[in-house]
């Protein structure tokens, strides 16, 4: 046989070699394409800037979580979260709009941020990630459905639930005990609005004219009280309230009278500061405000008293359905690159894992959003009595009350803040005639709409 002529055996061997080479090439291609499924690389980490509202002006559990993420999951997958601003739930919306509009002096628009659904709508849902596209149905089932629904803007899940809050009554225990001892008012008295207003009246008299309570979200208390008593459809078509709704107006008058008499006040900014300075004995605020309560009350002569914070559910009407607010911001991701979107999803999943979600909310005074976390809350060891009291109140609230979401109308918080600012001005000099104050407050209520 000549040199260049292949034998049948040789041909078979060559074919086998070619097949092996082809298979190896295919395997390499598969390996490369499998690796290409992620755009993240620990060797070239992507940075996501973030604004949040957890612990503004105070010790921030979210910052600690971010640090943990950056050094664990983030380091392994190539993601860095950089917190560039801490704000609060009512201010972050306008700040985001400023950033989006490149207002001079505003910080750059973050990749991740926490805000309400109406803030997300104002930013343009088309500019935000639809979390539904990145979570499977099974994954979504792990979250409390009502909280997920709260984050829907149109058809998109633009606001991913991380934690939810409700409004609670925070009482300075030491002061209240002295008051209670002298007047017979107890914590049980504060379970209803009638009892609350009676206690406020008694405290005003007992303390020599000091207000009993500072209320952070007066309008929400008015709404829920009215709704419990049967008020319905009190939002008008023009994006504000229907002032012909008798039950709504009756509820407003109930609270306005208490303010007019100096029994309660609209909080200066946050009720906790007024409790901490001894101006009031209790405050109605977000469950998350527990993070901001000092351990002591400090008086003008620099003497201090232990706070002994006790947390009660929001007072309810004697009759009617018991309602509480369902508040709290959620996580949004600004649409930029697919790599950042992938990183945002990794962070959102990590942040809301059952145990982590529980540990986070237990430090911040929120309700968890993960079903597993909710189930474990009863056996969780809280860091102090105040937190234990808070979660006891939250548990009672969840058992006895129905949660109602806040109105998600455009510019809601701007109008509400204007209303509160007006009431603060009015309550500085209270008229002798309660009716005058009530009427003026109604006029103010109408005017900010």
């Amino acid at each position: 046989m000549g040199k260049g002529v292949a034998t049948p055996k040789k041909e078979i061997k060559m074919k086998k070699t070619a097949l092996l080479l082809f298979a190896a090439l295919l395997a390499i291609l598969c390996f490369v394409s499998c690796n290409k499924q992620t755009e993240l690389s620990p060797n070239s980490p992507v940075t996501l800037t973030m604004w949040h509202v957890y612990g503004e002006q105070a010790d921030s559990p979210m910052n600690r979580l971010v640090e943990e993420f950056n050094h664990t999951e983030g380091a392994a997958k190539g993601i860095i979260i950089n917190v560039t601003s801490m704000s609060n739930a009512s201010q972050i919306g306008p700040q985001l709009l400023d950033a989006q509009a490149n207002v001079p002096g505003a910080i750059d628009m973050p990749d991740l941020f926490f805000c309400h659904s109406n803030n997300a709508a104002a930013l343009g849902v088309e500019n935000l990630l639809d979390w539904k596209d990145y979570f499977t149905e099974d994954e979504m089932k792990a979250y409390v459905p009502e909280f997920v629904e709260d984050g829907m803007v149109g058809d998109a899940l633009a606001v991913f639930p991380v934690s939810k809050s409700t409004h609670l009554l925070f009482v300075a225990g030491g002061q209240f005990e002295r008051f209670s001892k002298d007047t017979g008012v107890t914590y049980d008295t504060l379970a209803t609005w009638d009892g609350f207003f009676t206690a406020a009246e008694k405290y005003h008299a007992w303390s020599g004219g000091k207000p009993f309570c500072a209320i952070d979200y007066l309008l929400r208390c008015v709404e829920l009280n009215a709704m419990s008593k049967g008020a319905a459809d009190f939002m008008s078509d023009n994006g504000w309230y229907d002032f012909s709704n008798e039950k709504l107006m009756a509820s407003w008058e109930e609270f306005a009278c208490a303010i007019a008499k100096g029994h309660v006040v609209v909080s200066d900014m946050y009720s906790n500061t007024q409790v901490m300075t001894g101006e009031v004995v209790c405050g109605i605020g977000s469950s998350a405000s527990i993070l901001y309560y000092n351990d002591t009350i400090t008086y003008e002569d620099n003497t201090k008293e232990t706070m002994q914070l006790s947390v009660c559910p929001l007072p309810q009407p004697i009759d009617g359905k018991k309602l509480v607010t369902q508040a709290g911001v959620g996580l949004c991701a600004y649409k930029t690159t697919s790599q950042k979107a992938e990183a945002a999803v990794v962070f959102a999943k990590w942040l809301t894992e059952s145990d982590r979600n529980l540990a986070f909310v237990a430090e911040t005074g929120y309700m968890p959003v993960h079903n597993g976390a909710f189930e474990s809350i009863g056996t969780y060891e809280f860091k102090n009595e105040a937190y234990a009291s808070l979660y006891a109140a939250l548990t009672r609230t969840k058992e006895n009350c129905t949660a109602v979401s806040e109105p998600s109308i455009g510019g809601y918080y701007n109008k509400v803040n204007a209303l509160y600012a007006g009431l603060r001005t009015m309550q500085k000099e209270l008229p002798a005639d309660t009716a005058t104050f009530v009427n003026e407050s109604i006029e103010l209520f109408k005017s900010v709409g």
């Binding site: 560039t84 500061t273 901001y292």
Partner: protein
């Protein structure tokens, strides 16, 4: 394609030799070029580029920090002078001495009212996150730890955004704050604790004749109690006309604000800038950090140990290793800081590996290029020469044209030589023919003479001669033939190595055997014999 062979042989192909020379020349040029570039710094190493890049970044960072600190120092001294005047004016108006402020809420609140507007104005004009004034006085000296409690005002910006001018009252009278439009901070407190303020005692012990700008001090990063925000406090004392020190005032730099304001523009993917108290190591809990403008920010934690390696510094803790540069920064004597710029050590090693692999690839590419060029050009250069030689081999150079001057000259030269050669051949042929003719004439003459001589000699003598030849011994025959060849006696003795007397002895025997009496007669008989026998005896 046939590559030049480098086989070990005595003779080598012209093209192989040319290829070798060209290759050597190219290698030498590349080496000299590389060395020159290295010598003149045109071929920087990764360390060189890293040092240059980080030094440039450091220059920018340093300028920012220096400018910021100078601004804060200037504003602090201005605030101190303004507050000191206000305190002294108030004390004078109310006929008080400074110690009278202790346990006097009324006087302290009056002073605080004035402080609020002065401090808030200064804060809003400054590039800082907070401003404060602490008086060496307290509203209640009867309390525990009253000596550490200091009355004053501390305002903070509510957000690092310049678009938000809301100020919060962190320390001070809450009621006064609210009256002036400053809501209490959520971690509000009435008075300061001097224990929370690292430089308080040092500032209070400032010599009264020290200029305010020389008394300016910046603290390490400290945590405000109850918050997660670390701050650096830049402060000067409040020095009265009589040299009394009333307290301190200054500005706060919050960590978030520092991080946003000083984020550096850079081409480096990952870079961390540190502003730390000077020392052998860096305690991250006392250090401010910022990242890049692109958003990268992942500072290390714990203690970073530093070690200088050439122009670069290694920063290392239990988990991470970085490399970078440092620069000392002195706020005032005894108040020293260190600025550090660092990148993850892994990034540096990756850059070194990338640079090395690039050089290797470059060298390989250059080598392949050089070999290819040498091969191509040597082939191009040699081709006409080889063709010319081939033509010469085939004797086609007469009418050939190579297009190369030297080869065409060689063709012309060889053609000329061919012509000369032909002329010479022709001349030689003519001469040969002439000689042939002459030879034929001479032979005819010889034959004629031989014939006539033959007739003159005795036939018996000649017959004896012929018989005698056969009776010669070997030596005698040899000598006889040498005589016939025309050799002399001396030549014969030298040729066969005998003495003259021996030769004479042989001559005598030869003559006797041939029947001749002399050599002349012997040669004559020999000539006749040669001509009649065809020339052979």
């Amino acid at each position: 394609m046939r590559f030049p062979s480098f086989r070990n042989s005595k003779t080598r192909h012209l093209r192989d030799k040319l290829f070798s020379y060209m290759l050597v020349m190219t290698i030498v040029i590349l080496i000299v070029l590389g060395l020159s570039m290295l010598m003149f710094g045109e071929f920087p190493t990764t360390e060189d580029t890293t040092v240059a890049s980080l030094n440039l970044q450091m220059e920018v960072f340093n300028r920012e920090i220096v400018a910021h600190q100078e601004e804060l120092a200037m504003r602090s001294t201005g605030l101190s002078e303004s507050l000191t005047r206000a305190i002294e004016s108030y004390l004078y108006t109310n006929s008080l001495i400074f110690d009278d402020l202790n346990d006097s809420p009324e006087h302290l609140n009056n002073l605080h009212s004035h402080f609020l507007s002065t401090v808030s104005d200064a804060l809003l004009q400054s590039d800082s996150s907070g401003a404060f004034v602490l008086l060496d006085a307290t509203v209640n000296t009867g309390l525990d730890h009253a000596s550490l409690s200091k009355s004053g005002v501390y305002l903070q910006k509510s957000s690092p955004s310049l678009a938000d001018s809301t100020l919060l009252l962190l320390r001070g009278n809450a009621k006064l704050g609210k009256e002036n439009g400053f809501m209490p901070h959520r971690k509000w407190g009435l008075e300061f604790s001097a224990a929370d303020f690292p430089s308080y005692d040092t500032l209070l012990q400032t010599s009264s004749d020290t200029p305010l700008d020389k008394a300016y001090r910046v603290t390490e990063a400290v945590m405000i109690p109850g918050t997660s925000e670390r701050v650096m406090l830049a402060a000067v004392p409040l020095i009265g006309k009589n040299g009394d020190i009333y307290g301190i005032c200054g500005f706060e730099i919050a960590e978030t604000s520092f991080k946003i304001t000083h984020a550096q523009p850079t081409m480096l993917e990952r870079m961390i800038c540190l502003f730390s108290p000077a020392g052998e190591s860096i305690d991250m809990s006392k250090t401010f950090c910022c990242g890049t403008e692109d958003g990268y920010f992942l500072p290390p934690s714990g203690i970073l140990h530093t070690k200088q390696e050439g122009e670069l510094c290694i920063f290392e803790n239990a988990d991470n290793k970085y490399i970078g540069v440092t620069k000392e920064f002195s706020v005032q004597e005894g108040n020293n800081f260190m600025l550090s710029l660092m990148i993850p050590y892994k990034d540096y090693k990756d850059a070194v590996a990338t640079s090395t692999s690039r050089i290797v690839v470059l060298v390989i590419l250059l080598a392949v290029f050089a070999v290819s060029c040498c091969y191509f050009f040597s082939k191009q250069f040699i081709a006409p020469i080889m063709k010319g030689l081939e033509q010469i081999h085939r004797s086609e150079h007469g009418s050939a044209y190579s297009g190369i001057h030297e080869i065409d000259d060689l063709f012309a030269f060889l053609a000329e030589k061919d012509k000369d050669y032909e002329v010479t051949i022709d001349a030689l042929n003519s001469e040969k023919e002439e000689m042939q003719e002459k030879m034929e004439k001479v032979q005819a003459e010889i034959d004629r003479l031989s014939y006539s001589r033959k007739k003159e000699i005795d036939p018996d003598d000649y017959e004896n001669f012929l018989i005698g030849i056969k009776s010669l011994t070997k030596t005698e025959r040899n000598i006889f033939e040498m005589y016939l060849a025309g050799k002399t006696a001396q030549e014969i003795t030298e040729t066969i190595g005998i003495k003259e007397s021996t030769l004479k002895f042989h001559n005598h025997n030869i003559y006797e055997k041939l029947g001749v009496s002399s050599r002349k007669q012997m040669l004559r008989f020999a000539a006749i014999y040669s001509s009649s026998e065809g020339g052979n005896i």
